[in-house]
């Protein structure tokens, strides 16, 4: 019973955070709502025994990535007034309808899925450390070693790319000085 309460509560918070995030004019508030939503999702992860990934979600996403967003927003000193301009009403409604349709389709698909039997969820057979750090690490360093190592390359490229992109042009710099 508690599980059900936790699930619906977290789900509600996750959805609410998401909706509020896109509804905000102020980007800082958006970031904060997204953090809320992610935190709720992390709860769901843990409920699904994905402890390690859930922790990562909080630490990496909320802790690092979204903070980076915040930094950028602060750096650019953005305000809501940057985004004036009115969409046409028809267009706006079309977009909502489209998204709604999309959601409905997803629901239909989920319903049509041959989902494995209920018993599979959190059953007694499940290893006690399912979703713990150790088993995930074992997978990462054995079966998925190569993709894992590739990730490092990806991150390196991303770092270099980010530096290059965000750097001021040389000429601009010299001109400034």
């Amino acid at each position: 019973m508690l599980e059900v309460v936790i699930f619906y509560l977290s789900a509600l918070i996750a959805i609410g955070g998401a909706v509020l995030m896109i509804a905000q004019r102020n980007p800082v508030a958006s970031v904060l709502y997204l953090i809320v939503s992610l935190a709720a999702q992390a709860v769901l992860y843990i409920q699904l025994s994905a402890l390690f990934v859930g922790a990562l979600l909080i630490i990496v996403y909320a802790g690092a990535i979204l903070v980076l967003f915040l930094f950028v927003i602060m750096l650019l000193n953005l305000r809501g007034e940057h985004f004036e301009g009115q969409d046409q009403k028809v267009g706006r409604i079309t977009k909502y309808v489209l998204s709604g349709l999309f959601f409905i389709e997803l629901v239909i698909i989920v319903r049509q899925l041959a989902i494995p039997a209920r018993t599979d969820i959190v059953s007694a057979q499940t290893a006690t450390d399912f979703g713990g750090v150790e088993p995930v690490a074992e997978l990462l360093y054995t079966k998925y070693l190569f993709p894992f190592e590739l990730t490092s390359v990806l991150l390196l490229v991303a770092v270099v790319g980010a530096v290059v992109m965000a750097r001021r042009e040389k000429s601009e710099k010299q001109g400034g000085v």
């Binding site: 079309t94 977009k95 489209l98 349709l101 999309f102 389709e105 997803l106 239909i108 698909i109 049509q112």
Partner: protein, 647 residues
Amino acid sequence: MNHSLYLIILLPLLGFLLNGLLLGRLKKGFVSFIACASVGLSFVWGVKVFFELLAMPEGARAIQETLFTWIPAGQFQVDFSLLFDPLSSVMVLVVAGVSFIIHIYSIGYMHDDPGFGRYFTYLNLFVFAMLTLVLADNYLLMFVGWEGVGLCSYLLIGFWFEKKSASDAGKKAFIVNRIGDFGFLIGLFIIFWQVGSLNYADVFARAPEVFAVGGGVITAATLLLFLGATGKSAQIPLFVWLPDAMEGPTPVSALIHAATMVTAGVYMIARSNVLFMMAPTTLAVVAIVGLATALMAATIALAQNDIKRVLAYSTISQLGYMFAACGVAAFAAGIFHLMTHAFFKALLFLGSGSVIHAMAGQQDMRYMGGLKKQQPATFVTFFIATLAIAGIPGFSGFFSKDEILWKSFSSDFGSPILWAVGLFTAILTAFYMFRLVYLTFYGEGRMDNHTKAHLHESPKVMTVPLMVLAVLSVIGGYVGIPHVLGGSNRFEQFLHPVMTGLHGGADTSEHVLTSAGHSAGTELTLMIGSVVLILIAIYMAYYLYLKNIDLAGRIRNNLSGVHALLHGKYFVDEIYGALIIRPLINGSLFLWKIIDVFVIDGIANGLASIVGDISTGVRPVQTGTMRTYATMILAGAVVLIGYFIIR
């Protein structure tokens, strides 16, 4: 026995190459030496081989020499090979001999021309091509020479290329000849696909088996060959190029457009006598076209004032005679006239060249007169040639022309009508030729004083060739004195082995075409009658153009319509221009501007612009804003997923 026939054509070729490759680097003397020596040696070699030929038994007189295989394509094999038989021997001697004389004459005539070297280069090339034409032992090689002489004619007519009329005339000559060559080619195709060879020997041997006498195929083939001949030999309907060809230097007119090249058509028909004999329809066409041309050209010549144009129309007219001879199956008579004509017509042209030289380029007879005194040598030789062409007994033209007239009367293919037309033309010929002589050499000089002061006889290098030709114009006829005058017509006998079409190739000794059914008395009567009529014509010319010039003017005025028609050459050029050339050019412009640019390109570009328009229509979708694209992606996903769900 090795006769080294190839030397006959190789020598002029070498002369051409030497002069051509070193053009502009040799002195004039050396150039003319190379040119004349090469042709002269070629002539000498021709004479040598000719005597070797004579030494052979009469039935086996033919020397064949294969140089190399030219085009081998499957069953189609053509060799570069030469044939020296009585017919080609006559042609070789005439061509090389007259060429040599004219080469010598040209040294004097072209002496001051800046294009001296180029002139002799072309001339040597011409001799090479012409000798190839007559020495070829198959039709294709003959065609090589055929087109080769056409090329040289083009180059030499347009020799003074800075004059638009000259290059126009050259182009016209080449294109009109091409139309004839077109017929020639198609004729060759028919022959090859029926007979399987283009070799004279093979073709003539197999023709009787393959073709039916009078059949459609052989008639078509020979008519097409004849079309080729009309182009080269300036017969109706393709004669229009020859008068314009007088734009070239006068020795060229003498050599190419009187003595040699234009007679190639006659040679070709005589060579193909086997084929033509099998197609009586064609023979009739040849005879009629030949006489019609002769008559028409003679009438035009009556009303021309340009000395060279008169001679040009006279050439056309005489060529018409030769064709008439071929048309009545008197091939030997045609070749005989070809030879005598080569002598006296070359002489006439060279003489007129001498006159023009003296008159500083003036060619209009209305501004000449009285040149007898200033140019005695020219006058005498010219007069001899005129007597010859008019057919005065004792001169070469008499024998050959009379032979033709008699054959057109008596031959199996002849008729009195043909004879009458021929005789009338002969009378006209005598009339206009003496008109020319009287206007040019007799009476008072009508040129301006400046020209008058400069009148002079031409240098030796020009007059000696005239004299040589004059001698030939007199004696040239004595090789073919007819039987009725006590001769034996050795010329015809000599050519007899080649004329297999007349006797089926069986017997070579007996003289078959003896005009059976006609007595010698008839022949003699007709001969005397024609001579008398010709003499009357000469007197009329004398009366009208020397005694009573006003009368000539009055006649002209009274018959102004006829005169305009004749002076305007029946307006054939204008008719061709309006019927063929204009529509062709306008049609081509239509094809280019309308069909090509507008329709075909329009369709291609139209398709392209339709695609372009569709793209432009669809382009607003690409707003460039990210959100629209994202919406599109979402919509795409919705549609795709929806499709999979519904399916």
